[in-house]
Amino acid sequence: MSTSNWEREVMRRALEQTADCPVLDELTAESRSVVVEAHLKSCAHCQNELALFSEFSTADVRPQEAGDVSWVAVKTAERVKAALSPAPWWKTIFAPQFVKQASFGMAALLMVASGAFYASRTSTEPAFPSETPTASTLRASSIQLIEPLEDINSTPSSFQWEEFTNCSDYQVIVSEVDRMQIWSSRTTKSGMPIPEQLKKQVLPGKTLLWKVIAYDAAGKQLAESETRKFRVAVK
């Protein structure tokens, strides 16, 4: 027999914050007020909050996790810095706002040029070149998954996603909800039939996750989709 949702709700309410609970800053203050101190002694929620915050702020890295922690911290720093650094000038010209403004400007120039051209049609001057930026100069940053997504009625027959420009091949990865990978395969197309072997693991009511990674011809990763879930309805 499974745990009832009702019991889960009772437990959640018993353990969650109440209107009387002080904010975390008050709990972690170097000198707590008498009122906060008294509340803390009688409130399991606040005791837990304090202990968990302490776990977050002062936890020692265990020897077996030191390498991974360091790797994650370095990766995070690299990515965050890249995302927050000011865009170089040549990138700003492809920013949507600039493209919009440039398009208006270019359109105005073209109108003037066209007028000049027709006014001097006997002239041998070369035509004004048009260089309006196109949508193709703007590259999507991730792959869009099409199907299967969320709750579906029957076992899907294939994975489908939107094509990613300049990509050589794709890797499809399917995993359990705890991220344990159960299947992976590669293809050059933007879709892939689901093999029988995997279909056996697509059980009704059980959620699976999937994502797609795009690679270039040299095997370098170009883009990655979001990880999305799908689940076949129980009949």
């Binding site: 499974s2 009702w6 009772v10 800053d25 936890a59 994650v72 995070t76 990515r79 965050v80 810095k81």
Partner: protein, 199 residues
């Protein structure tokens, strides 16, 4: 003027805002560098996978940066960062989870509230929650309460709780939930008019 490195987190944020929150501000580098390890550790223990942890950690810091203008000057950055980290982990988990993990016998018998909550069952739930809170306070060890909070409030997977709290026993957090539930069951049975308990 003191060197940036010697400023507190809150002072760095204050100066960053004073300078118009410009991209590439060195103060944010300094601030984040102080906290990358602890957020990375939390994410790693939460996910159990360094690639996913790096994704999650990155999202957390970008989210923090995005909302720096809403940070209250009188609050502590560390508690704010902790709250965002915990919420983002919870949201990440919820987004990939169909139903909460369920594998144990219930303490409280299911009621009509399971199917269609009405005013009566909502009241009943609130009342029971109040009594359950007292039972927890009386009957459970702090570590059991912590595991129960992460499991029921944060809806965190048992493996994540095991890693996060460094539980080294064979079955990890599950053993604590089992023991806590057994204690609550016994305490509820002892308590007059306690919750409907499975015999």
């Amino acid at each position: 003027m003191p060197a940036m490195e010697s400023l507190s987190d809150e002072e760095l944020i204050s100066q960053f805002r004073g300078q118009g929150c410009q991209a590439g501000d060195k103060r944010i580098d300094i601030l984040f560098e102080r906290h990358y390890p602890r957020v990375s550790l939390w994410c790693l223990r939460f996910t159990g996978n360094r690639d996913t942890a790096a994704d999650l950690s990155q999202e957390i810091f970008l989210n923090v940066h995005k909302h720096l203008d809403s940070f209250r000057g009188d609050a502590k950055f560390s508690t704010w960062l902790y709250t965002i980290t915990r919420n983002q982990c919870r949201n990440k988990w919820r987004a990939t989870q169909a139903t909460p993990e369920e594998s144990m016998e219930p303490i409280i018998e299911a009621s009509a509230a399971d199917s269609a909550p009405d005013a009566y069952s909502l009241l009943e739930t609130s009342e029971l929650a109040g009594r359950m809170k007292q039972l927890m306070q009386d009957a459970l060890e702090p570590i059991e309460q912590r595991v129960m909070t992460l499991h029921y409030v944060d809806e965190m997977p048992l493996e994540s709780i095991t890693r996060l709290l460094g539980l080294t026993n064979a079955s990890g957090a599950k053993a604590y939930i089992v023991s806590a539930r057994r204690k609550l069951n016994a305490a509820a049975a002892r308590s007059k008019g306690g919750p409907n308990v499975h015999k």
